[in-house]
Every structure is written in structure tokens, then in C-alpha cells.
Symmetry: C2
Subunit: 387 residues, 2 copies
């Protein structure tokens, strides 16, 4: 227990310290939190192990973060940019997948490896993107909503891709029916949750609002968000999609402001653990070009980063006219923990050799660390307030 | 991960629902949270298993609760009642220990068993007491401070008793030197923490207060509280004593109010998990008098509850004149999770047979569930505001 509390304290204090330093040199705080993770993680200082306890707190952190982001998002405005978001998401999956596949194939690796590498480049880390958008106060802009919508679509489709690729790796046949079913189920969850959830959420909040005991509103709201996360997962989507949907629902109640106010400090304490845990998964030794063993991986990583970056950045231009497309493209760039999940599944199945695995991990790191400063630079300053 | 999130959601929603119902029928909300734990725990519905994840959240919950209680306690006022608190704590350990020892011995059990039963009756659950005091708005009264001070002393001495009793159970000799050393170390921690911590805490809060990033104050404060918990544990005290001391320290900074405001929702979300986890450790089948196998345990439990109750309640009268002594006695009654720890160690070492173990668990339950309504009844209403 003491070891766990110590790791929790180290992650929290390290994240806030490096986050503040990042802010002081004009970078988003989340970049500092990721770096704190690298420094404190098992491959460096080792003060924050990737233990079950820390990963549970990280999961609570990202679920609550997406709940908060949903709570601050206007569903009607999100629906207005729905077409654009879907275009960005779909193009943003096709381009990096094709690029990654062809590059890996051209480098002389087998087809299965190439498919896995391509798939690993399709994911977008909604957590990192949402956090940077929130820091830049861009959540409530058209660009912000397109990025957020596209990242959610990406998360829904990404899990379908992961399921398909895993089946291929296991040598199983992939039925078009299975793919269609998982897609429909994941999309259907979001639709049903929102259509049924909005009237239901309003009634629940009225009931909860009558409570006398302190803290019932925030605790019950978080309880609902956790239940929706589990339901989303059961429907084949990601937990964070359910938490985001719950936020959208409760945003349409008359207690949105009160919930958001009470939720903020809880997110402030747990979301950093998520970013630290993402950083902690990075082994900085892979990055040392002086070690001859790394050079092949680093070369492949360089190519994959270029392809992965260009594919997502280019997808931003599918957003259509009247918006800052480069900003949207940059918002889709970070792969974060989702890319690491793909890489781990690939390594476990044997589809990715240690060298290729290392290259994918370096690519994930590079895109994740590049995006926050890039978003800050590309932020459409004059129009930020206008939305 | 889904199973964990579901258990978290069930614990949170169940605690708030039954807490609210308890409140509606004029009982402290914490009683409802404990009952929610019994209902949802592994011995009933099984929705909230006592898994490692839930126990981690429970530990975070009780650490943050005691941090909050410390933050709302005036150290100078606490020191003023220090003598009274120590008298209540020491008498409140001697009376139940002697009573439990004699009763168990008289019932025909061996000496070792009698020692363990007596020791299990010495603990006071500071978590439950502090929560009820907070609900009754009695933290900031003389009675509240005496109870809190005595409970802290109890927690410090209780661990020494546990160490001694465990050594006896293992057949080891108990040196007076060892006992004196652990006591001095635990007491020394509190003194050094407060003397060195207050000026240090002020400086740290000034530094933290300069941060630009959102949520640094609450996250850093919680980080400090976690570090102090770990330090307290390393010094042979309980984690919650460190968290309480950290609260006392930060209460003397100029940001006490801001920290407290941001901390409240975090406590509202995690403290219920602690009370649910305490309730979940109760196997209600032990309570069935229709089962002949239970009757011996229940009879012993009845005697132990009487002795345990009278001993702690009577200790309240050591508080001296000018305070509501019955209220103070009632505040010392709940054994809670601390009593269960003693019982588990006793069972594991073989000192407690299953029947005696069951009797101790029932005693712990009875004292824990009796105390909140009793405190509510005995609350000195007219003087509550005067302090």
C-alpha cells in the first residue's frame, strides 16, 4: 500500500512540476506531464511503476477527463460538424494505414507485419488531443469540435480495426459480416445512448438534485459516467467513448455548471496519472542513435513518423472550407496510448519483431510529443474567441 | 478493467443512495454507506468485490478524508485539549482490553486468544468517527477535537499494541525496549512533522501558489498528503495519521480555504468507497441466530459488545469537566476497519478460532453501526455552535 501511495504521489507531483515548467517555456502542460512519465517510469528513475494500481488510476483519469470534455461540449454544435468530422476521421485512417503498410512492405517486411504497422498508425489519442484543446481553450470552437468528433469516430473505428487485425494475426478468416456487425454495434451504442440518455439524464439529475447529503451530485454523475464507460466497452467501443457520451448527455441538464465545477478538481488529480502512465511506457533507450542496434528501428521509425504525420495532418484538409485545416490536421496527429495498444497486441501475436515494435513505439512517441507544441503554434488565434 | 469500473460505479451509486435514505430517516449518511457495503459486498450481492483495485480506492478515500479533517482542524485548539484527549485514549484502551481479556478468559478460552480479543477491542475507527463529526458539524467544537485527538492517539498506540500482540502470537519475546522504541518513533513522527512541517508547508504553498497551470494547488496538496501518509507508515504509525498531520499543517497556510474547497468533491467521490469497503467485509450470515452454529459466537459477541461499548463509552468520562462526556464516549465506540485488521491477524496466526473470530467481527460490526446513531442522539445541540 505504501509503495502504491508513493508512486501516486510521485506521479502527481512530477506531472504538476514538469507541466508547470512546460507552460513556462510556452509549451502545453500535457507535454511536461508526458515527459514526467518518461523520467519517472520503469525505464528511467523507476519511481512510477506501471503497476495494476497506477493503471487503474490512469484509467479513472482518462475516463473522467473525457467525461469533463463531453460536459463542456455542445451536442448540437457537434452534430453540425458531424459530416466534416467523419470525413477527417475516415481519410485520417486510410492515409496512414496505406502509407505505413506500403513503407513497411517496401522495407522488406512480411505482409502481416506491414498490416499491423499500418493499423497502429490509424489510432488517434483523444485524451492528448482533448487535453491540449482544453488548455488552448479551443474546445468550444468549430475546429475543436471537428477534431473531437473525428477523434471519437477514430476511437470507435479503431477498435474495429484492432479486432480485425488481431483476427488476421491469429490466422482467422475475417468475415465482412463480423466487421459490419462490430461497426454497427459501436455506432449504434452512441446513437442509442444519446437518444435515450438525454431525457433519462434530465430526470436522473432532477432526482439527484433533491438529495440532502453533501456531494451526491458529483458522485452520482461520476457513477453514471463509469456505468456508461462499461456499457460502451460491452458494445465493442472504448470506455472513453461512453464517458464522453455521458458528458454530452449531462451537459444538456440544468446542473451542467455545478457538475463541471465539482468535477474539475477530481480531473486535476487523476488525469495527470493517465498522461504520466502514457509517458512511462516509453523506453528512452530506443532513442539512442549511438547504439548500433537501434539504427534500423530508428530509420524505420523516421519513415513511419513522416508517413503517420503526413497522413493525419493531410486528413485535416478533408474538413472542408472555412476552418483552420492545418490545426485540425495537427489535432489528429498524436497516437498516444492507443497506438501503444496496437503495438503491444502486434508484439504479443508475433506479427511485430522486437525491432519493428521498437520502431512503432518510437513513432507513437514522436507523434504524441510533436502534436502539443504544433497545435499551440497552429492555433487560429484571431478566431479562437469567435468560435 | 470493465469489472473494476463497474464495481467502482456500484459502490459510488449504492453509497450515495443508501446514504441519502439514512439521512432521510434521521441517521448519519455514513451508516447508509456502511450498509450499502454489506449489501453490495462479496457476502451478499457480490457487486463490489474486495479486489485490490477497490481496496486501493478505499485507501485513497480514507487518506483524503483524514487530510480534509486535518485541514478543518485548528492545531492550537487541538493542543489545548491534548491532555484530555490522551486521558480518553489511554483509559479507552485499558478498559476494553481488560474487559475483553477477562470475559474471553472466563468463557474458557486460552490466554493467547483472550489477549488477542482484548487487543481487538482497543482500536477506534478514526474514519467513521471523523465522518460522523463532520456530518454533525461537530469537528470545530471542544468535544469534536477531544474525540479526534483521542482517536489519533488511539491509532498511534493501536499499531504498537498490534505489533506486540502479533509478536506474542508468534511465540516471540516482547522486549520493553522494542515497545518503547516504536511508541517513541510514532509519537516522534507527529511532533517532528508538525514542528518542521508548518514553516515548510507555508513555503511550499507560496511556491505552488505561483503556478499558472490549472489544478496545481489541489494536486500538489494531495501529493504532499500522500507523501506524509507514507512517511507516517515508515515511522510505524498509520497512513491516516500522516494525512491528518498534513491537513493540520496546510490548515495554517493562507490557502487553507482554497485547498479545502477543491478537496471536497474529491473526498465526496473516494471516501464512500472506504465506507463501502468496510461494510463489505461484514458477512451477514454470522448474524443469523437461527443457525445453531452461530449461537456460541453470538453469545460471546453480545458479551464483547457490552464490554467493548462500556469500556470506550466510560473512557469518555476521563475527558474531565465542562464537556459533554457521553458524546465523547460515544465517539470512541466504533471499531471499524481497525478492529477487523486485529481480527484478521488473530485468525491468520491461529490465536482466534473461527468461532471467536466471528464473535470479534460481530462485535466490530455492532460497535461500528451503533456509534453513528448514538452520536447523533447524544450531540450537545445547544452548545454545538458555541464550540
Amino acid at each position: 500500500m505504501s509503495a502504491f501511495l508513493l508512486a501516486f504521489a510521485a506521479a502527481l507531483l512530477g506531472a504538476k512540476l514538469l507541466g508547470e515548467l512546460a507552460e513556462r517555456i510556452g509549451q502545453p502542460a500535457v507535454l511536461g506531464e508526458l515527459l514526467a512519465g518518461v523520467a519517472l517510469g520503469p525505464y528511467a528513475l523507476g519511481w512510477v511503476p506501471l503497476s495494476a494500481g497506477i493503471l487503474l488510476l490512469a484509467e479513472i483519469g482518462v475516463v473522467l477527463l473525457l467525461f469533463e470534455v463531453g460536459l463542456e461540449t455542445d451536442l448540437m454544435e457537434l452534430i453540425k460538424v458531424g459530416g466534416r468530422a467523419i470525413a477527417v476521421a475516415v481519410i485520417g485512417m486510410i492515409l496512414p494505414f496505406t502509407g505505413g503498410l506500403l513503407l513497411t512492405f517496401a522495407a522488406g517486411f512480411p505482409t502481416l507485419t506491414a498490416i499491423f504497422v499500418g493499423a497502429a498508425l490509424t489510432a488517434t489519442s483523444i485524451g492528448i488531443t482533448a487535453r491540449v484543446l482544453s488548455e488552448l481553450k479551443m474546445l468550444d470552437t468549430r475546429e475543436g469540435r471537428i477534431i473531437l468528433g473525428a477523434a471519437v469516430v477514430d476511437d470507435v473505428l479503431g477498435l474495429v480495426v484492432l479486432a480485425v487485425v488481431s483476427q488476421i494475426a491469429e490466422g482467422g478468416a475475417v468475415g465482412a459480416f463480423t466487421v459490419a456487425r462490430s461497426t454497427l454495434l459501436a455506432v449504434g451504442f452512441c446513437v442509442v445512448a444519446l437518444v435515450a440518455g438525454i431525457p433519462l439524464g434530465r430526470r436522473l439529475i432532477v432526482i439527484v438534485g433533491r438529495a440532502n447529503v453533501r456531494g451526491v451530485l458529483v458522485a452520482a454523475s461520476i457513477g453514471f459516467a463509469l456505468l456508461m464507460s462499461v456499457a460502451a466497452r460491452a458494445a465493442g467501443s472504448a470506455e472513453i467513448v461512453g464517458a464522453f457520451a455521458c458528458g454530452l448527455i449531462l451537459a444538456r441538464t440544468n446542473r451542467q455548471h455545478d457538475i463541471d465545477e465539482a468535477l474539475k478538481p477530481v480531473v486535476d488529480v487523476f488525469a495527470p496519472i493517465f498522461f504520466v502512465s502514457v509517458g512511462a511506457q516509453v523506453d528512452p533507450r530506443f532513442l539512442n542513435p549511438l547504439d548500433a542496434a537501434n539504427r534500423g528501428s530508428l530509420l524505420l521509425a523516421l519513415g513511419l513518423t513522416a508517413v503517420g504525420f503526413a497522413g493525419k495532418f493531410g486528413a485535416g484538409f478533408a474538413a472542408g472550407r472555412g476552418v483552420r485545416r492545418a490545426f485540425i490536421g495537427a489535432g489528429m496527429v498524436p497516437r498516444g496510448e492507443v497506438g501503444l495498444v496496437f503495438a503491444s497486441v502486434g508484439r504479443a501475436s508475433g506479427a511485430l519483431s522486437p525491432a519493428v515494435f521498437a520502431a512503432v513505439v518510437v513513432t507513437v512517441m514522436a507523434t504524441t510529443f510533436l502534436a502539443p507544441p504544433l497545435l499551440k503554434v497552429l492555433r487560429p488565434k484571431a478566431r479562437a474567441a469567435a468560435g
